[in-house]
Chain length 270, copies 2
DNA sequence: CGGTCAATTGAGCTTGTTCAAGCTAAGTGG
DNA sequence: CCACTTAGCTTGAACAAGCTCAATTGACCG
């Protein structure tokens, strides 16, 4: 069982291991996970990634392709809650009892790894530190989820799309995908619309609206970032929430320019 | 230092302790927190709750009143990301390095407790289990945040408001506030609008729209749930995500009625 | 070549916004 | 106790962002 991981060719691919490390997984914890890999499989675009009985108590790591966590509403519409990129842990329900009642499905053809929870050993650096790491991953998801909720709730379609493109640019860069000047838009415009609370039609128009002032360009399913500062400005994008930059200024909380401290008491000294 | 907690009258109030227990805090962990309480203070409505230098490395627990985590956008609008009710841990930034760049402020007059992180001891059941507990709290917040994002992204104003009212009813019931037939709406309609990505004006109209068919009633700042099943139906509300019910059907994942498993391959056996 | 999927475009319409004005209850100073 | 404020709720009317429906195009595929 110990060296089982070697039987899966892509598993030792550095990408996701480095990603785990960046989430604070110790060397022991990542090895622990490697040893618990029970399957590597491919999932066609638009199919669900959820362990269908096959490995019911496993964590799933996305190795290649883009995936999402989504919810279908009674009226048939879909909301995409979370976007997963290569290296992301896209299903860890086996580790937490929370019942989020969302599905996970492939936005493009994907490769995923199933990691059996009961093969995570209980030695130090084992199961427990994996649980800790997943908690940290969850915290990261919260940050993105929060930012997205803010986008959907209070930003215009134009800002929203710009913001998502900024996020994608940086997240992809962090995993060595895309180039400085852009990236391949692996997902569908409809998928993007479902992430942003928009209609595919309106998303399309907004994309074109972003092209007009020269912020981006769209060539053959690729997004070209034509004016990065301009795009960031249009979105009021602050990358801090992605937790990707140097942790240099960490622990320095910065709040919006608003002194919530003291709206002057009426009639104060006036 | 050990019995410091007793110097703060409300701290032993059972509410929040039971809440912590429900989040899986052990008896030791809750005692550990009790012993680390360094202050109890009141915050007036509309003021920020954030530790202003006073106790910079403390967790904050909301004892009384309603509060929220919010973000101010460049154009001056506000989005409320999270609503905190009595017993909720409303600021645990001291425990996780994540930089969410949101403020926390009081929606009504509040009482909060500051719990110094460096007074959490390192014995078993101490700091570490508090961190674990907070991770579980975060997971719970994710569930609510996700549901809210779905609301804002894909539900109509009518459904959105209905959904929030359902959520409030149950969350308040869980902490012994409100009655079976309704609750006092402590927050402002504008606050509510800022949670739902709506305008205060439209929220008001929607509230009235919910009253018309007899789903709710509004009397003197109180929401009366006039037709609970009807309200749930209007919102397509499924309380599972709140994690309040008996954990009887836990581990039984239920997904939306959609076989993501296999959209028939074109021309399959046809 | 027929078929499907995604992107695109047009036209009309709805939902929710904006701006503006009253209204009510509660608090404050004199 | 009354005039005066203020915060929050309510309402109207014009407006606009984004939606719906529907049709077209282009690329790819068996």
């Amino acid at each position: 069982v110990k060296k089982l991981a070697n039987t899966f060719p892509d598993v030792r691919n550095d990408h996701w291991i480095q990603r785990l490390r960046s989430y604070g997984f110790s060397r022991e914890a990542t090895n622990c996970m490697l040893n618990a890999v029970v399957a590597e499989r491919t999932v066609a675009a638009k199919r669900d990634i959820i362990r269908n009985g096959a490995y019911p108590d496993s964590i799933v790591v996305l190795m290649e392709g883009w995936a999402c966590r989504y919810r279908l509403l009674p009226d048939g519409s879909r909301h995409i809650c979370t976007l997963f990129l290569p290296g992301d842990v896209c299903d860890y329900a086996a580790l937490d009892e929370n019942d989020v009642t969302c599905g996970v499905s492939a936005l493009s053809d994907c490769t995923v790894c199933d990691i059996a929870v009961d093969r995570l050993d209980d030695r130090p650096g084992g199961r427990k530190s994996v649980v800790d790491g997943v908690a940290r991953i969850t915290a990261g998801e919260v940050a993105i989820l929060t930012e997205r909720a803010i986008s959907i709730g209070r930003r215009s379609a134009f800002e929203r799309v710009a913001h998502l493109l900024c996020e994608l640019t940086l997240r992809l860069k962090a995993i060595g995908h895309g180039t400085a000047s852009g990236f391949r838009l692996v997902m569908t415009q409809e998928d993007m619309a479902d992430m942003l609370g928009l209609t595919a039609v309106h998303l399309n128009r907004t994309l074109h609206a972003l092209r007009a002032p020269g912020l981006i360009d769209i060539v053959d399913r690729h997004i070209v970032i034509a004016d990065w500062p301009g795009l960031q400005a249009a979105a009021a994008f602050d990358e801090a929430y992605l937790g990707l930059g140097e942790p240099s200024s960490a622990n320095v909380r910065h709040f919006p320019a608003h002194d919530g401290a003291a709206p002057p008491p009426s009639h104060a000294f006036a």
